[in-house]
Symmetry: C2
Subunit: 73 residues, 2 copies
Amino acid sequence: MSNDNHYQFEVVMTCSGCSNAVNKALTRLEPDVSNIDISLENQTVDVHSSLPYETVLEKIKKTGKEVKSGRTL
Amino acid sequence: MSNDNHYQFEVVMTCSGCSNAVNKALTRLEPDVSNIDISLENQTVDVHSSLPYETVLEKIKKTGKEVKSGRTL
């Protein structure tokens, strides 16, 4: 399956424990997601996926983190 | 519904963003959970619930936080 969609989310993360938690949650979606790139400094979560935008968004929201915005690149 | 079960989990939380995320995830289960009591200092999550232990455990795991142990009190 090809992970053709590239999504970027702005997520409130205040420590490496926060960003690791988001990474762990998204990693569980592999191989339907790949190239997970999380920046605590920029408060961004980049991911490539074959899944719909809403599915990935919901997965991040289930971590309990606030998602301030998101977009398809 | 009566939240007769009292569960306690040991969860790795390194900042208030971490503990808030767990709180937010559990709050979504209301009214099937109540008396959510989270201590960042003690690394504990206490909750009363009508739901099975495994269901509450899974909800916490979906936050991406490491659950070191859990028990029914």
